[in-house]
Amino acid sequence: MTTPTLTPPHLVSTSETTVAVPEPPRPSTSDHLYRLVVWGGLLLVFVWSFGPAEINRFVYLFTDASNMAEYAKGFLTPNFRDWEYYVEEMILTVQIALWGTVLSVIFGIPFALLSSNNLAPVWIVQPVRRLMDACRAINELVFAVLFVVAVGLGPFAGVMALFIHNLGIISKLFSEAVEAVDPRPVEGIRATGASRLQEIIYGVVPQVMPLWISFSLYRFETNVRSATVLGIVGAGGIGQILFESIRGFLYAETAAILIIVVVTVSLIDILSQQLRKLAI
């Protein structure tokens, strides 16, 4: 690749004075090395995990396809005889997700502000972030098992599981939005002699509101999906009957339940999309 022949002559010399045009920047050797390390490293990681993840068994997907077909046939005739019961449990599942989300948003806001580098000092940010990491790292199913022990079988254990797990997620998402705000309006408010909290309420919150609403709606969608499995460990909702029907080899009933889950999740997706448009 030679560039000099491509340079239009009129860019190089204007009337009588000749302007020296610098060469376009080229990636340096260290840039190349960096790229090699990143891509090479990624490739190594995939090779390393190929065996342990048993990816070599993908051939069974084709050789044993008849088994799969047999299994899938059971799902082709969904049995909606108990649909009222399923819908009732599905609504309960949505209610669990609703409360789990609302609680995590309400309690997530202060934690988000405390874990934002542009609002809180580092000795507060770091411990709060690590605490939120812990909430996020533990799956909601694990929390559900713990809360079933603490508050007994039923929907409330599910609400608490979603609440704690989402507290970690919401505070991370919210604080990332807070760290990206334009500092100038905040400084404008500080210059009027407003208090620290007022700077946040009038300067930060209006800027992050559309993102916060969008994140909350997205988490609600996700929580409805998560809540459908919480029932497996006895934390209420449609998961409980889903698990029972799978264990009882009742494929027709399982298919009916799955269809209800899919329709509900789709409906909530459509609804939250509309709400998000209103918010932004």
């Binding site: 309006p185 400084e187 404008g188 210059a191 009027t192 208090s195 007022q198 009038y202 209006p206």
Partner: protein, 281 residues
């Protein structure tokens, strides 16, 4: 009696750049002072120090007082800084309004420092405060925009909303940091008029940093000129002749003086120029 007093201010930025070197300034109540200087000469830095938005060097004997109350001393903000900020209105080059809030809410933010923390935090503004905000907006001529989001206003309107915020704040000192640098000439004139009205009618001390000496000459009796973080001139604005500025800033003076520039040889014919000007308005 001096309102704003800056003593031996020195500021070094983290990169090692000296933004201000031993700057001392004394400004009397009710003065309207222009701060001029090329980009990077320290105008904004000086204004931000007076407002207590940045701290001076730690080990320097610098002191900033407003109305004889310390804003900062020895590189530390005083405990009174937040109180003093209530009496100082700051107007920024980029307006620093909250774009998603309505214009009137942005103006009402000016009263936060004076009302109880609880009431301010929950946004319970009283009708008389709202009337005062509308009055301020009417004074700067944009009362009809009160209900709009601040982000929908033009640059000149946003800057006037910021001035209305300083009015509602009841500021006794207004610091304007390049308030007209990002505005078209007509808006710039309106903004400068609003500031000079504030100075003449309300006896507010105004310190305004400017890029163009013309505005300093027209609106400010006194000018302080900065060069490389030092005071190069402090005196009546009328003394700022072009020759003097050239002496002061050399080639950089072109950045400060707009007119008197010889017209370009390839400038459009007068009739065309008039048409272009009309199309632009």
């Amino acid at each position: 009696m001096s309102t704003v007093r800056v003593e031996r201010l020195t500021k070094t930025f983290p990169g090692g750049k000296r933004a201000l070197k031993d700057v001392s300034v004394d400004i009397e109540r009710g003065e309207m002072v222009a701060l001029i200087g090329a980009s990077g000469s320290g105008k904004s830095t000086l204004i931000r120090h007076i407002a207590g938005l940045v701290q001076a060097d730690r080990d320097a004997p610098c002191k900033v007082t407003v109305d004889d109350r310390p804003v900062q001393a020895g590189g530390r903000l005083s405990g009174e800084a937040r109180d003093i900020r209530r009496d100082i209105g700051v107007i920024f080059q980029q307006f620093n309004l909250v774009g998603r809030l309505s214009v009137i809410t942005n103006v009402l933010i000016g009263v936060l420092g004076r009302i109880s923390v609880m009431r301010g935090t929950f946004g319970r503004f009283r009708p008389d405060e709202k009337r005062a905000a509308m009055q301020a907006l009417a004074r700067v001529g944009i009362a009809e925009t009160a209900a709009q989001r601040a982000s929908t206003l033009s640059g000149g309107q946003q800057q006037r909303a910021a001035i209305a915020r300083a009015m509602v704040q009841g500021a006794r000192v207004v610091l304007a940091d390049e308030p007209i640098a990002s505005l078209d000439p007509a808006s710039a004139k309106r903004v400068m008029q609003a500031l000079s009205e504030l100075n003449e009618q309300d006896r507010v001390t105004v310190i305004v940093s400017l890029h163009q000496v013309e505005y300093a000459r027209r609106y400010c009796p006194r000018t302080i000129a900065l060069r490389d973080g030092e005071i190069a001139y402090d005196g009546p604005s009328t003394a700022l002749s072009h020759d003097f500025l050239r002496e002061l800033y050399g080639d950089a003076s072109e950045e400060l003086v707009l007119p008197d520039v010889p017209a370009r040889s390839d400038a459009p014919e007068p009739a065309v120029a008039a048409a272009v000007a009309l199309a632009g308005t």
